[in-house]
């Protein structure tokens, strides 16, 4: 088999896999994207709402430059990119070879529905007698054995769930296009030889298989079986080990000798099962229990169809990205603990999400199981998380936020809804999460109860879900809720152990991919990377960042290790100029499917179309989607040389790449071609009768025809040469990581650092939670950066001025040594970091007994602190943090506190350590250290922001901390020798830089990314990227991931000779423009501005995404969209309206 070559294989087409694939594809690399599911999108296919917008927004990930390479519609529906090949229902079976030239075997399971024939009419599902829970609705609705995995994909084909299929053939008979293929006819080529010494068994088997269409030879002994095998080619040998005359092994060996791909299936009883196992080692496929039951028919059917339908793909790939995401913990694993199955109204968060969805089983209404509206709702946090007893000594990191989101959604869906979230800690550690939570509490009245609900006990008396918990003050409370939502945590995805084996990587103790410290995208195998949540549970934004980091590593591996390959770059197609020609349109109608042919009078339709002024020829073609059909279209085009081509067929999206090819073939810009959907109106159930149907089909075609007739060639705008150099601002961990990544990929990098030496904040770390030597890492990194031939470092430099746009910026740097220098660069990475807050509270800077965590860490590291002599240490978390004006979590302070507390306990086991905290943010795998700190006797005392700890100092400066302990219900006072303050991070001097680069900053002074979830390291302004603490507080590992993600985004630009915008962009007819500015306000992409000097509205073609909002708000068509002229639109409306159903005269 010829191996197809790809730069990378991405396993898992969830959000992280898609992001990685797009990142690679956009930098010009070929990617194979596979998923074991029959659809892309992962868990997000099921989710309609994402915080903070409470909407979806996944499409924001689509490429903004070179837009024509990719589909531009809802990504939950589908994704097409010219550099991405998607294989669904496919798993990685084996990965051999070395980085740069891995050999990957993929196993693709058949869906048994021919995608080229299925028209998604749904007739098959209507007749399927099977009803099983529908995974898409989390089991809240049912589906058949033939079903649509997701309701919204494009193209959307039915698939057969073979395990559930009863093979009643109803769907096969109902399918109007013969798309369902159970390989019935081909069975005659699947010869079965059954060697069964027992006569009754032979009789039974003969009878059972009588109408199964398999050629069956029944052999009564080994000799007969051997004869039968030699007689004719055989596909399957059913061999009972009880055959006595010839050693069964001999029969088997002979069979395999004759036909190497023969399936040998043994039949064994209790006595010879060991033998059977042994023979499987020798080449048998499997064994069945003697005596054979009638179920063998079904088994054979499934075995046969899998054998003949499933396919194996062999690829050569440069690198592999594993993005298999996570599975939600299944609360049923704990039996009835959470009332699953016994208490109605207990749902998982995913089920609740489906209920909130307009396309979900309840149409977006929140209802109790008895149909009454669900108003009183409870969320139970940490179901299957932070629960070592259930194998999860980690925090899933995402559930607190999705519970809050769902609580807010509930409130939106029903203003009377009351939401209660039961949680131990509310982990709002991400950017802007704290405010989101505060808003949920203050605006939406979400109630947070600090407890962990252990279980839900059924109570037949209760009108709903009874929940009992212990309040802080020790009273047992009970409340009955309409719905209880289990915030089920993240678990390694099903089959991850198999995948790990296939990919040759190690898993960690939790079952996720093991990552080396400070190499967040790496796995244990060189060249194989982990994206998204596959090596630690992560939310969308962090998954997207992680995906970018994995993509970067994959691209770097490909670049470094792949043998150079002569890629014959396809020349840019040459299109002839047809603008001056009168429209000559070829109309091709696909009439292969009977739904159209039998309902519409095709000659009459052709005749009516022929009457349109621009149409020169109307032809019918059999199966335009099939290879011969498409050749016929090509031949017609060659013959006629039309300057417009309209195709009437089904599923227009599927034709996009074909039109591109046809365009190149006949030299016609694909903008002059279109495909109109003429099949949807003909589907069973939707069809209107007779002439009305014909008119509907005609109208669809006529509309497309007049639109095409008025089409204008729209040259791709905004082609801009790229300066192959990146400017990285900031020489800390983020900046150096990004610089190294880009330099390694062969790009020039200019690194500007304002301090005299590289290192930034991370250089101040002495230890890491979980081990590792950050000093060493930082020193090595700095040295590599300094030595790298592609990197030019400017320390003590400052950015003064910057102009330009993606592909070409000019930036002036002031340096300490001499005059300002100007750097020309194609991409910019902002990595200016931040700094530790200097607090004004708790006696800091007044008493030497009060330190910041970093200072404590330093004193612990340099040995200046005698831990043995200490009588007690206290720590206060969230100092001047997580409340206005610094209302955000800095992520690193809880880890720092745990790190220092553990070090203290390590050195002095009996040293009392008290941590006063609000919520311990030990998200993800760092939860382990929280458990450990508790285990070592560190005392954690929760306080509320309304009642903070009070610190007083004695004569000897020893601090006494007094705080209300909610568990004890009284004030607690401790006197200690040292007080360490966890102060959090604040942004550096971002405002100046924001001014220079025209970048937005958020309410806390961190840079405001383009979109918090989908474009976390980008700015709305193209070509400038952000990473590290400049974006938001993050730890070293997260900083590295974001830096690599940002580097990947920059590489995406630098990898090309020029930056290309889209074909459809807005333009301004300046003579008509009144400069009212409505289009400027309406532009969602910031692509328009009023140039006051020139007195006109200017458009940045790279930023313009061709959405048309500007044209819509402009009252006099001064704002126009190429390809969507008013005249065209009016003509289309004309064509759509007022075509009376009258008998058509004969064609003139």
């Amino acid at each position: 088999m010829k191996r197809k070559h790809y730069a990378a294989l991405v396993v898992g087409a969830g959000i992280a896999g898609i992001r990685s694939a797009l990142d690679l594809a956009e930098s010009g690399l070929k990617v194979a994207l596979i998923d074991r599911r029959p659809n892309i999108g992962g868990v997000l296919a099921q989710l309609d709402h994402q915080f903070p917008t409470d909407a979806c927004g996944m499409c924001k990930m689509l490429p903004l430059t070179s837009r024509d390479s990719s589909s531009q519609f809802c990504m939950r529906k589908g994704l097409f990119h010219k550099n991405i090949d998607i294989l669904l229902h496919t798993e990685l079976a084996a990965l051999e070879g070395d980085p740069g030239k891995f050999r990957a075997s993929l196993r693709q399971r058949s869906t048994f529905v021919d995608a080229t024939r299925c028209i998604s009419c749904g007739e098959c599902a209507r007749v399927c007698p099977v009803h099983v829970p529908n995974e898409f609705d989390s089991g809240l609705s049912t589906r058949g054995a033939i079903y649509l995995p997701v309701p919204h994909a494009i193209p959307n084909h039915y698939v057969v769930d073979l395990d559930r299929c009863t093979r009643c053939w109803s769907c096969f008979e109902a399918c109007p296009t013969d798309a369902i293929d159970f390989k019935y006819a081909e069975r005659k080529d699947f010869r079965v030889v059954a060697a069964l010494p027992d006569a009754a068994a032979r009789t039974d088997l003969g009878a059972w298989l009588a109408d199964q269409n398999f050629p069956l030879v029944l052999a009564e002994d080994g000799a007969a079986a051997l004869r039968a095998l030699e007689e004719e080619r055989t596909a399957l040998l059913l061999l009972d080990l009880a055959v006595a005359d010839v050693d069964p092994e001999k029969v088997m060996r002979r069979g395999l000798e004759l036909y190497p791909d023969l399936d040998v299936i043994l039949v064994a009883g209790p006595g010879d099962q060991d033998r059977a196992e042994a023979l499987i080692q020798a080449g048998a496929r499997q064994w069945l229990a003697r005596p054979l039951e009638r179920t063998v028919v079904r088994w054979l059917d499934h075995h046969y169809i899998r054998t003949v339908s499933d396919v194996t793909h062999e690829l050569e790939v440069g690198a592999v990205v594993l993005a298999c995401g996570f599975d939600c913990y299944d609360p049923a694993q704990a039996g009835q603990l959470w009332g699953r199955g016994v208490v109605p109204g207990v749902v998982t968060a995913l089920e609740f999400e489906r209920m909130c969805s307009g396309t979900g089983p309840t149409g977006g209404r929140l209802v109790r199981p008895d149909g009454r509206p669900a108003r009183n709702l409870a969320w139970l946090q940490c179901v299957g998380s932070r629960d070592p007893a259930r194998g999860a000594d980690y925090c899933s990191g995402i559930c607190c936020m999705f519970a809050i989101k769902e609580a807010r959604l509930a409130r939106q869906a029903d203003p009377e809804a009351q939401a209660t979230i039961f949680a131990m800690d509310v982990r709002t550690y991400g950017k802007d999460f704290q405010r989101y939570r505060d808003e949920a509490e203050s605006r939406d009245g979400v109630r947070f109860v600090r407890t962990r609900i252990h279980s839900i006990e059924p109570d037949p008396e209760a009108d709903g879900v009874p929940i009992t918990w212990m309040d802080d003050d020790g009273t047992l409370r009970r409340e009955v809720f309409d719905l209880a939502v289990l915030a089920t945590g993240a678990r390694p995805p099903e089959g991850s152990d198999r995948l790990a084996e296939a990919a040759g990587i190690a898993l960690d103790a939790n079952g996720f991919a093991a990552a080396p410290p400070l190499q967040p995208a790496r796995t244990s195998r060189l060249g194989v990377y982990a994206a998204g949540a596959f090596n630690e549970p992560r939310d969308i934004a962090e998954s997207v960042i992680q995906a970018g980091a994995a993509a970067l590593n994959a691209a770097r591996t490909f670049k470094v290790h792949s043998p150079p390959r002569e890629e014959q770059a396809a020349p840019a197609p040459e299109y002839r100029d047809v603008t001056r020609e009168a429209p000559r349109m070829l109309v091709v109608l696909c009439d292969s499917c009977p739904t159209l042919r039998t309902r519409v009078d095709m000659p009459s339709l052709a005749a009516r179309l022929g009457g349109l002024s621009s149409v020169v020829r109307v032809e019918c073609v059999q199966g335009a989607c099939s290879a011969p059909g498409w050749q016929a279209v090509g031949a017609l085009a060659e013959e006629l040389r039309p300057n417009r081509i309209l195709i009437g067929a089904c599923m227009p999206y599927a034709y996009v790449p074909r039109l591109r090819e046809l365009g190149a073939q006949i030299g016609l810009d694909p903008a002059f071609m279109d495909v109109a959907d003429i099949y949807t109106p003909t589907f069973p159930g939707t069809a209107t009768p007779g002439t009305a149907l014909e008119t509907e089909v005609y109208t669809a075609l006529a509309m497309a025809a007049v639109k095409l007739a008025g089409a204008e060639p729209s040259p791709v705008l905004g082609r801009l040469p790229v300066t192959p150099r990146a400017l990285v601002v900031g020489g800390g961990l983020a900046g150096m990581t990004a610089a190294m990544a880009l330099a390694d990929m062969g790009h020039d990098v200019c690194l500007s650092e304002k301090a005299p030496r590289l290192g930034g904040m991370a250089a101040a770390h002495h230890t890491l939670l979980g081990g590792g030597d950050p000093r060493r890492v930082m020193e090595d990194l700095a040295e590599q950066v300094m030595r790298h031939p592609n990197i030019k470092v400017f320390t003590q430099s400052r950015i003064m001025l910057s102009m330009g746009r993606a592909g070409r910026f000019m930036t002036a740097l002031a340096t300490a040594e001499g005059p300002a220098i100007t750097v020309e660069h194609g991409a910019t990475i902002i990595a200016t970091g931040g700094r530790e807050v200097v607090p004004d509270s708790y006696g800091y800077r007044v008493h030497k007994t009060v330190l910041r965590q970093s200072e404590l860490e330093a004193r612990l590291a340099d040995g200046s602190l005698d831990t043995g002599a200490l009588g007690g240490v206290a720590m206060i978390q969230c100092v001047e943090s997580r409340e206005e004006p610094r209302n955000y979590c800095s992520r690193v302070c809880c880890a720092a506190a745990l790190k220092n507390a553990l070090t203290l306990k390590e050195r002095n086991r009996d040293l009392p350590v008290y941590v006063f905290y609000r919520d311990i943010m030990s998200y993800g795998f760092s939860e382990r250290f929280y458990t450990e700190a508790r285990g070592r006797g560190v005392l954690f005392i929760r306080y509320s922001p309304a009642d903070k700890p009070r610190v007083s100092f004695g004569q000897d400066h020893r601090p006494t901390i007094a705080a209300f302990d909610p568990v004890l219900g009284r004030e607690l006072r401790v006197t200690v020798d040292l007080l360490a303050l966890s102060v959090g991070l604040e942004p550096g001097d971002n405002e100046d830089l924001a001014e220079v680069f025209s970048l937005p900053t958020g309410p806390d002074g961190f840079f405001r990314e383009a979109e918090s979830k989908w474009r976390p390291v980008e700015f709305l302004r193209q070509g400038i990227f952000v990473c590290g603490v400049a974006h938001s507080p993050r730890n070293m590992s997260e900083t590295i991931a974001s830096a690599e993600a940002a580097a990947q985004k920059a590489a995406r630009i630098l990898a090309h000779k020029d930056v290309v915008g889209g074909r459809v962009t807005a333009q301004v007819r300046h003579s008509l423009c009144s400069l009212c500015g409505r289009c400027v306000s309406a532009c969602a992409y910031g692509a328009r501005r009023i140039d006051l000097e020139r007195g006109r509205v200017e458009i940045d073609e790279l930023l313009c995404q061709g959405c048309g909002s500007c044209a819509a708000v402009c009252p006099n068509s001064a704002g126009v969209l190429t390809g969507f002229k008013d005249e065209q639109v009016l003509s289309v409306i004309d064509a759509a309206l007022a075509e009376p159903t009258q008998p058509t005269e004969a064609t003139p």
Partner: protein, 382 residues
């Protein structure tokens, strides 16, 4: 509390008093010119006039029932992009002020160099009626007669009906003005109260040194009564118009007199396009197209696109319609354009909770996106 001064009226009457006020303004108010309706010599026709010579103010008559055009567009020309540092005062009716504020929002004018003097509007006559009423006898006397009749509650002051738009106008007070000439409820034989309505207005008022007034007695009551009467008339008009235009056929009938002269568009103060889309190539149909339509439908009325023209204008401008009625005033064929616009605008403005001209800080609908609006269409909430 706004500062209130008064313009005393002697036997020469209110118009002279207002002229005196404008003179004071030119002298001490820091303005370089005053835009005010004034009688042209010798015909007496009233037109907006930009006056910088105090003497020329003798012809000014902002109280006249003449309303030849909405002056908002003129003020926008005087203010748009002005960097001269010169200031203009403009005496305007409430609907002119509202239209001007709409234009400001659309970058067609600026508030920086203009002092808006608003009139408590007694209403105006159509051009045709004013030609009959206002051009006979001493023009200033005619104005005084008109004001007396209005104050007396006559429904046909001077024997003429007020213009249709004025009869249904629910905004007779100039809310966005810097200074308000408080005619409503005032005794026009004694004094007109001048109300400072903005910080700028109050500042100017202080500089003018006018005598203080105790307030504007009777103004609120008079305004309320007028608003109530007009609102009732307006609702009746809405009902009648809606009934006539409920179907496409009804609408075509309603607009059947339209000859595509576009006068209404030209007269419209908020139609701000440099060049209307109906004058561009978009509507340059090919001969084939006309014939095609004719063949399809058997008959096609020409000019085509009359209904389309009004629908387009409704789509573009109804949210900004201030109800000044100049469209109807301008129509040669008495198509009741104002009635249609106001009826539609009631719905379109209501949908966005938008009142054109209320405040320069309110962004026009469609230029802002609010996630929570139109949830019944987006399906976000249930």
């Amino acid at each position: 509390m706004a500062t209130i001064a008064r313009i005393d009226i002697d036997e020469t009457g209110p118009v002279r008093a207002v002229q005196g006020f404008l003179k004071t303004l030119l002298a001490r108010g820091g303005v370089d010119a005053v835009l005010t309706p004034a009688h042209l010599v010798p015909a007496g026709t009233v037109m907006p006039t930009l006056i910088s010579d105090p003497e020329a103010l003798e012809r000014a008559d902002p109280l006249s029932p003449a309303f030849p055009l909405n002056a908002a567009r003129l003020v926008s020309r005087l203010t748009r992009g002005s960097t001269s540092g010169r200031h203009v005062a403009a005496v305007l009716r409430p609907c002119e002020i509202r239209a001007f504020i709409e234009l400001v929002k659309l970058n067609q004018g600026g508030l920086d160099n203009v002092l808006l003097i608003g009139l408590d509007c007694p209403g105006a006559m159509t051009n045709a009626d004013f030609r009959v009423f206002g051009l006979e006898g001493d023009p200033l006397e005619r104005t005084r007669e008109f004001l007396r009749a209005v104050a007396g509650g006559e429904s046909r002051p001077g024997g003429r009906s007020l213009a249709g738009a004025c009869r249904v106008c629910e905004h007779p007070a100039p809310e966005g003005a810097d200074l308000i000439l408080g005619l409503h409820g005032a005794d026009l034989d004694r004094a007109i109260p001048v109300l400072g309505n903005t910080a700028r207005g109050e500042g100017v008022l202080t500089r003018l040194g006018l005598p203080d007034a105790p307030g504007a007695p009777g103004r609120r009551e008079a305004l309320d009564a007028l608003t109530a009467r007009n609102t009732a008339a307006r609702d009746a008009m809405f009902e009648a118009t809606a009934a006539r235009t409920a179907s496409l056929a009804g609408l075509a009938e309603y607009l059947s007199g339209c000859v595509n002269c576009y006068n209404c568009r030209v007269a419209c103060p908020v139609c701000y396009c440099k060049e209307c889309v109906f004058l561009t190539d978009v509507f340059d149909y090919k001969p084939d197209q006309y014939l095609g339509w004719a063949r399809k439908r058997g008959a096609i009325k020409l000019p085509a696109d009359t209904v389309f023209f009004h629908l387009t204008r409704l789509a573009h401008m109804s949210t900004a319609c201030v109800g000044c009625g100049q469209c109807s005033n301008a129509c040669p064929n008495d198509v009741p354009v104002m009635e249609l616009f106001r009826t539609v605008a009631e719905r379109t403005q209501g949908a966005f909770g938008y009142q054109p001209g209320r405040s320069p800080d309110e962004a026009p609908p469609m230029t802002v996106f609010r996630e929570d609006e139109f949830s019944e269409m987006t399906g976000e909430a249930h």
